[in-house]
Amino acid sequence: MSERVAVRKTYKLFIGGKFPRSESGRSYIVQDSNVSLASRKDARDAVVAARAAVKGWAGATAYNRGQILYRVAEMLEGRRDQFIALGVSADEVDAAIDRWVWYAGWSDKLPQVYGGANPVAGPYFNLSAPEPTGVVAVVAPAAPALLGLVSVIAPAIVTGNTVVVAASPAAPLAAVTLAEVLATSDLPGGVVNILTGKLTETVPTLAAHMDVNAIDLTGVTDAELAAELEVKAAENLKRVLRPAPADHDWYADPGVTRMTVLLETKTVWHPKGV
């Protein structure tokens, strides 16, 4: 009996709930593993998948979205060892799981805190309701690999947005492994799409894309690139979240800014009558 040869994992992209290779066929090596090197066209495909998912995800009840985020936390709990094997510390995995739960709890509370009845000078009911912006492009921070990623994805999707995430080129393994968690968590395909590879190839395409409604530049460390991306994003007035400061503490209470910045407020005036 010959000795068994271990089956090695191919780290692929995550687009529309599937794991395709890059259309360019390219890959690069990180921690002895082959990782897909996404191209401009993969970014385009990811936006199409994200756009297609908006209607169903934004239209789902807040309660349902919250349950799905809890489910992500459950599935992540079951895959702790996989992340630890990639070099993610046990503390960080715990913090990432807790973060999913924390954001899951916000799903049906945020509209109550940030919307509601406005007192106006007239015989009207005046109601404000926060609504998702649509498709959000996200540049994930390089470190902490897992917690940073979860901390940028969860606040964007909990309110009903869909995301195209450019994973950090230095830490793509945790991102692809998180995609496996998401794929098994009742999350509809296309709500989260993950691209691995060079930021300079995919992110400018996303920043300029007319069908992307907001961009989160958290993981961009190069100030010049960040400025260029903001200029591109201005073309269709995308909402822009500026890069995170270098000393940002990812373990601290995240606050609600990351959720509220990706919302649009709809206000309805309705005559009161008799």
Binding site: T205, A208, H209, M210, D211, V212, N236
Partner: protein, 319 residues
């Protein structure tokens, strides 16, 4: 194929005079190799068309679009808006060509005619009890005459599939001849409704029947049955018009309709036209796309090529 057609050359015009001659001819056409046709169509779909060739293909495809709305909910306002879009598909870019034609129900023809008059955009109307074709012949002919009188210069008729599938070829032939006569100067497109014909052999027979009876165009589908235009069906029809021209010298156009939604699909069809019948057919007078949502995708791809930035559907009109 060509051999059969050529040998029949002398008596083609006589075929319509008897059911037996028609049947003998149509059933004498060689059978279609189903696997071969599907593989050929799939293989032609793998060509890569980029940069300047793509820009040219997109503009040609826009000029070939029959911008269509065939809904019970069509209103004068809606078809007027559609006709306006046909004239200037991309209001932001004056270099964008106009589409080939607007295609509507007969009742909507007058409203579209007002907008299109003198523009060079054709006005097509479906007729002959579209989409089923299940009405008495005189009703179908009245339908056709009404559409022409209202200003349509192209008529999209449906063949009588019931008669065709029952083998009553003479009846189908006579109806097409009568409709052609009712059309007067208007061009006649004959819809085969290939989704209901079941086999490629039937598609080939129906194509020849429509051409023999005088159709100026053969069109795949009404868009009202689940299976619409597919690449292999269009390939079989393109082969038929090629062989018909070789046999008779008369050129007939082809119009795939229904289910063509993306620029990628449209370019695949253009490749197929070029490779099957040649550049003679790469013209809006000889090849058309029956479509509605295709136009917006063509405009988005066109914008991508001119601006370098991916476009979004929010910036183009809803039809």
């Amino acid at each position: 194929m060509t051999a059969t057609a050529t040998s029949a050359r002398s008596d083609l015009s006589e075929l319509g005079r008897s059911e037996t001659a028609l049947r003998t001819f149509l059933h004498g056409l060689p059978g279609v190799d189903q696997v071969g046709a599907e593989q050929r169509a799939a293989q032609l779909g793998t060509r890569s068309i980029k940069t300047t060739a793509k820009a040219q293909a997109i503009d040609l495809a826009i000029r070939m679009v029959d911008l269509t709305t065939l809904e019970g909910a069509d209103t004068p306002g809606k078809v007027r808006a559609l006709a306006t879009k046909a004239l200037r598909p991309d209001p932001a870019d004056p270099s964008c060509p106009h589409v080939g034609a607007v295609c509507v129900y007969p009742a909507m023809v007058p409203y579209v005619a007002e907008v299109l008059r003198g523009s060079g955009v054709h006005l097509a109307s479906v007729a002959t009890a579209f989409p089923s074709g299940q009405a008495p012949l005189d009703v179908k002919l009245a339908d056709t005459r009404a559409a022409v009188e209202a200003g349509a210069d192209e008529i999209d008729m449906v063949i009588n599939r019931g008669a065709f599938l029952a083998g009553r070829y003479q009846e189908v032939y006579d109806e097409i001849v009568a409709t052609k006569e009712a059309c007067g100067d208007a061009h006649l497109k004959v819809i085969l409704e290939t989704g209901e014909l079941a086999t490629y052999d039937n598609v080939r027979r129906a194509s020849w029947l429509a051409m023999l009876a005088g159709g100026d165009f053969i069109k795949t589908s009404t868009g009202k049955v689940p299976v619409a235009a597919t690449p292999p069906v269009t390939l079989v029809m393109l082969e038929a018009v090629r062989d018909f021209r070789a046999a008779t010298g008369r050129q007939v156009g082809v119009k795939p309709a229904g289910g063509i939604k993306t620029t990628k699909d449209a370019i695949k069809y253009l490749v197929m036209v070029n490779e099957t019948v040649g550049a003679d057919w790469l013209d809006p007078d000889w090849f058309r796309f029956g479509a509605s949502s295709l136009l917006n995708d063509l405009l988005m791809q066109r914008t991508k090529l001119t601006t370098g930035v991916y476009a979004g559907p929010d910036y183009f009109t809803l039809d």
